[in-house]
Symmetry: D2
Subunit: 142 residues, 4 copies
Amino acid sequence: MPIVMTAEEMTDFLGEVFPQIEGMFSIDRLEEELLVMRLHAAEQHLRPGGTVSGPAMFALADVGAYVATMARIGRQALAVTTNCSIDFMRKPAAGADVLGEFRLLKLGRALSVVDCLLYSEGQAAPVARASLTYSIPPARQG
Amino acid sequence: MPIVMTAEEMTDFLGEVFPQIEGMFSIDRLEEELLVMRLHAAEQHLRPGGTVSGPAMFALADVGAYVATMARIGRQALAVTTNCSIDFMRKPAAGADVLGEFRLLKLGRALSVVDCLLYSEGQAAPVARASLTYSIPPARQG
Amino acid sequence: MPIVMTAEEMTDFLGEVFPQIEGMFSIDRLEEELLVMRLHAAEQHLRPGGTVSGPAMFALADVGAYVATMARIGRQALAVTTNCSIDFMRKPAAGADVLGEFRLLKLGRALSVVDCLLYSEGQAAPVARASLTYSIPPARQG
Amino acid sequence: MPIVMTAEEMTDFLGEVFPQIEGMFSIDRLEEELLVMRLHAAEQHLRPGGTVSGPAMFALADVGAYVATMARIGRQALAVTTNCSIDFMRKPAAGADVLGEFRLLKLGRALSVVDCLLYSEGQAAPVARASLTYSIPPARQG
C-alpha cells in the first residue's frame, strides 16, 4: 500500500503524540517496501557493558510498527499495539545505534501486522526480531 | 521451586546489575507461588493522557521474569531474555502504578518460562499479559 | 462474562463447523472462570515414543480459545484466530490425554484474548502454555 | 551457515522420525538463504469452504523450522520446539497448497530461531507469518 506521509511529516507527528520519546528515535528511510528507524544509543537505554537494553529494543520495534502503519493511513494517534512477539538473538554491539527494518505484512480494516528485524549498526547478523499487531480504530481520520 | 533470595537481597542485586532502572520498579511480594512487582507511574513512562506506555509495561514484564528466575537460582547477572510475547488488552488507568503478577511455569537447566498478568492498581481486569523465556548460562553460581 | 451455551450445545456446534475434528476433542468443564478441554491421545497425534505432537497441542489450544469465546457470544462460525504464542515446556506423558485449561482474559468488540495451560492428564507441571487472540466479525448473531 | 543435508536426505530423515506426517509435506527448495516447504492441501487439513486449517499451517511452520535447523546440524531427532508465535493474516485460497518460506535467523549452541512466511500457492500476499525457536540438545551427533 502506498505511503501517504513523508518522513518529515511523520517525525513531526511522532513529536506531537509521543513527546516523551523525542530524540530517542529517528527515521532513516520511509519507503513502501521498507521502513528503517534508528534507536540512538544513549545512556538511559544501556545495560552494563554499554549494550542497548531489551526494553529499548522493544520500544524501537513498537514505534516502527506504528510508523509503518500510520504512513499508510495518515495521522491516527489512537491506534494501539495489541500484540508483540519478540526474540532476542544476539547481544547488541556496545555503544552502537540499533537499526530496525520494518515490513508491513498486512493492513486490514481493523488490524495491521508488521515484521521487524533489529541490527546493531555495522553488523550483519540481526540482534532481535519482532512481529507486532496494531489495532486501528473504526473511524479513520485521514 | 523454593526461593533462595529475599526481596531485600533481590532489590540490592537489581540495583547492582541494572542501575539505570533504579527507582522504576519495586518488589511488593516475593513468594514461591507468586511474585508481585510494581512499576511506579512516573512522567517518563507515561503517554499523553497519563497512561503507562507499552515499553514501560514490557520493561516491567521483563524485569519480573528475571526476578522470578533469579529468586530460584541466585545471583546470575548473565541470564538473558530470549523471547517475550505480550498482549496489550486494555488502556491502563491514568496515573496509577502498574502491578505485575508473575508465576514461574518452568525452570529447566537452560531455560525458564514465566507467565505474567499486568494490572492498573485498584482495577480487576488485567491491562496486559505476557510470557517470557530466559536463557540461563551453563555455569550456575549459587 | 456469563456463559450463554451449554457444553452440549457447544459440542454440537463444533461438530457442525469443524466436522474434521470430530472425536479429537471433548469438553470436560465449561464454566465462567474456567474451561477444560481434552485432547484424546490417538495414533495420528502421536510422535515416536507415544507423546502428543506439537501441532496437536496447538490444535487443542486453538479450539479451546474458540470455545471460550463462542461460549460468551454464541454461535459465530466466522471468528478467526489472528495470533497464537505457544511455549512447549515439557515432554507430554506417553499415551496420556492432554487437558487444556482456558481462561478468557478479554472479550472486546473486535478481539478476544484467551490464556491456556496444557497438562498431560495426571501430571502437575504444565507441558505447554499458550495465549491466543480471536478476531470477532462486526455483525454478531446471538 | 552451510547446508549439510540434501533435500532427499532430509525427506528420508523426516519419514523416519515423523512417520505420521508422511505425504503431508514436501521440500520444494533447500538452500542456504531460503527453504521452501509445501503443505499438500488434503481433506483432513481443510476447514469448511476448503481452506487449510490453522493447525495445519502451524504444523507446516513447525516442520519447516525443524528442517531449516537440521539441514545445518545434521540428523538430530531430539531437537524440540520451545516457542512459536504465529499470526494468521488472510484466509488461505480454497484448495490450494500452502507454501512456507523459511529463513534461519540464528543458530546458536543451544537454540535456533527461524522466521517463516506462509502463502497460498499462486498468491502474492502471505496468509500467515510465524517465528519458531528450537532447542538443540547439548550432545550433537553430526
